[in-house]
């Protein structure tokens, strides 16, 4: 086993060395004639070796070791992207190389940070308002059956409707600043939260409910001690879905009008100027923020629903 690991480590080292050599070959005018053929063969060999290493890494288990395969896969994809863009001289407007995106991120950091802050404020405000309202209405609808029968089909309908189209109206009502984006995010996140919380509250085992009844527990006690805890996985599911939805809808709402900063504004403004690397930098920033947001919620979920079957493997 140890020898296997040493082999794999060596293969990773060889991968890195070949990768570096390849990248320096394709820069500038690029290789000609026989050298070009050699580069092709080297690249093919590199991909084969990569596949072999990934196969080895895929067998590793454990919290940190299990991350090696996806990490290497992601790095390799970035590298192939770089090689393809640099090697074939892909026009910058079509697809910038990863290093160009990194440079744009560094060069425009001041502006992008202000954009990020603007968007983050509207996302967080809208997310909290939408999720809170959805949760509250779900509790009400759970108490009053009539409301639930009436709301649930309408909420289901809302899933088929492009709600984000409400953005221009919200911009008219609440102005160009963050309030209008927060309003869009709140409306978009409301329905998933409502539907998921109701499904979660209904997911309780009949046996458990009967047990609560034999204890003589009323609506409130049953809700607090049995039904809300068992609805938590569903609530977290909605929280995770909504984290992405809120970010996307805030950015799309910024396309309809915003102050001179905000990630959505930056994207649409730089697209118009064909500064595609800055656009990708803004997207990378949004993606990173979205992933961190999602990851934080997943961590809280793990801490609060540790008893759930999906974590007790």
């Amino acid at each position: 086993m140890n020898r296997r690991n040493a082999m794999t480590a060596l293969a990773v080292l060889v991968l890195a060395v070949i990768a570096d050599a390849l990248l320096s070959r394709v820069q500038g005018d690029g290789p000609k004639g026989a050298e070009a053929a050699a580069v092709w063969w080297l690249l093919a060999g590199w991909v084969l070796l990569l596949w072999f290493v990934l196969g080895r890494l895929a067998q590793l288990r454990g919290r940190v070791l299990g991350l090696l395969a996806p990490a290497l896969f992601g790095l390799a994809m970035l590298y192939l992207w770089e090689i393809a863009v640099v090697g074939w001289d892909v026009p910058r407007v079509l697809l910038p190389a990863p290093h160009a995106v990194g440079e744009a991120l560094a060069a425009r950091w001041g502006a992008l940070r202000a954009d990020f802050r603007q968007t983050a404020v509207s996302v967080v405000a809208g997310y909290c308002a939408g999720c809170g309202a959805g949760f509250g209405v779900a509790l009400l609808a759970d108490r009053y059956r009539l409301l639930q029968r009436g709301l649930l089909p309408l909420a289901g309908l809302a899933g088929a409707v492009p709600i984000v189209g409400i953005a221009p109206i919200m911009v008219m009502w609440f102005g160009f600043d963050w309030q209008s984006k927060a309003a869009v995010a709140a409306i978009v996140t409301f329905f998933p939260m409502l539907v998921n919380t109701l499904a979660g509250l209904a997911s309780v085992d009949a046996m458990h409910r009967d047990l609560m009844r034999t204890y003589g527990a009323g609506h409130l006690a049953t809700l607090l001690k049995l039904r809300l805890p068992s609805a938590l996985p569903f609530v977290f599911n909605a929280l995770k879905i909504n984290s992405t939805l809120a970010l996307i809808s805030a950015i799309v709402a910024e396309f309809f009008g915003s102050p001179i900063y905000g990630l959505g504004f930056r994207i649409s403004a730089e697209v118009a100027r064909m500064n595609v690397d800055v656009v990708w930098a803004a997207i990378a920033l949004a993606a990173l923020a979205g992933s961190v947001f999602y990851g934080l919620i997943a961590l809280v979920e793990r801490a609060m629903t540790f008893w759930h079957a999906s974590y007790r493997s």
Partner: protein, 295 residues
């Protein structure tokens, strides 16, 4: 505290009630939100006004803050049935433009998602290496690059239909890939072992066991995917390059303050979304009957 789903007849009454309450609230909100402008206008021309005049005026403004529901329906009706089908005044024309890229993107996304899922199920490297990235990529606001894709592909000479379909495809393939991986893995070990005793090849196992088992998962994902595909198509129409489509209609409405036009485009988009999801559901029922599932 019953948990079974209420029947269709049981929910008609409550739905109608909630809808009626919403409409009443809407009319009231229209009065409340439009009143300041109307009052200003009345006072400006020195017109004496009472409650009745105020309500009438707030429900019939040309550019209201919030149009009354009947104004939206009237505008929708006029632009659906009152205009030539190929004129840019017709909502049917715009909906058709949006629909075509929605469907194309949905089909491409479905194919891509299924292919990726088959790859992930059959290759350990793709399973451990690619799948985490597919899941992580759901946190990336792909929609945010929609305008860029349209502008960039447009500058390379691709028609807007293709670039909007590319965005829809991006949005569609995530739910399909994730759902299909689950579905292709849903056959039990016992069933897979049985296939092995028959010395079925991997291809036979895929076609005769895994794919049929994945069909319910495919349709569950497809319903989500077609709704997101529509959103992708609409957002793809926002940049100035797109002259037609529901998204372009929303944008021009917001530029010129034509609130009624925005709302009727929204109504059309909602109807389109509901119809598309219902169509996927209808296909699902057909396929289920064809596959011999218990109705």
């Amino acid at each position: 505290m019953r948990t079974e789903k209420p029947s269709w007849a049981q929910s008609v009454g409550p739905v109608a009630l909630v809808a009626a309450v919403l409409i009443v609230v809407w009319y009231a909100a229209a009065v409340w939100l439009n009143a300041p402008q109307v009052i200003e206008r009345f006072d400006g021309i020195g017109n004496p006004w009472g409650a009745r005049e105020l309500v009438d005026a707030t429900w019939s403004m040309e550019r209201p803050v919030l149009p009354a529901p009947h104004q939206i329906v009237a505008d929708w009706w006029a632009s659906v049935f009152g205009a030539d089908l190929d004129s840019p005044r017709s909502l049917v024309y715009h909906a058709g433009v949006t629909l075509s890229s929605t469907i194309l993107g949905f089909a491409l996304g479905l194919a891509l998602g299924v292919l990726i899922a088959i790859g992930v199920v059959h290759s350990r490297v793709l399973d451990r290496g690619l799948l985490p990235w597919i899941i992580a990529s759901q946190t990336i606001p792909i929609l945010a690059i929609a305008p860029m894709v349209v502008v960039v592909l447009g500058s390379l000479g691709y028609p807007p239909l293709v670039s909007k379909a590319v965005i829809s495809m991006y949005l569609c393939f995530f739910p399909v890939a994730v759902g299909m991986v689950k579905g292709l893995r849903s056959p039990e070990v016992l069933q897979l072992d049985l296939m092995r005793t028959w010395s079925a090849t991997p291809a036979q196992r895929l076609v005769k066991l895994r794919l049929p088992a994945a069909v319910p998962f495919l349709f569950a994902s497809a319903r989500i995917a077609i709704a997101t595909s529509l959103i992708g198509a609409i957002v793809g129409e926002l940049p100035t390059g797109a002259q037609a489509g529901l998204g372009a209609r929303l944008l021009s409405g917001s530029y010129f303050g034509q609130t009624i036009q925005i709302w009727s485009a929204l109504l059309m988009a909602s109807l389109l979304g509901v119809l598309l999801v219902a169509a996927v559901g209808a296909v699902e029922r057909l396929v289920a009957r064809w596959m011999g599932a218990a109705a």
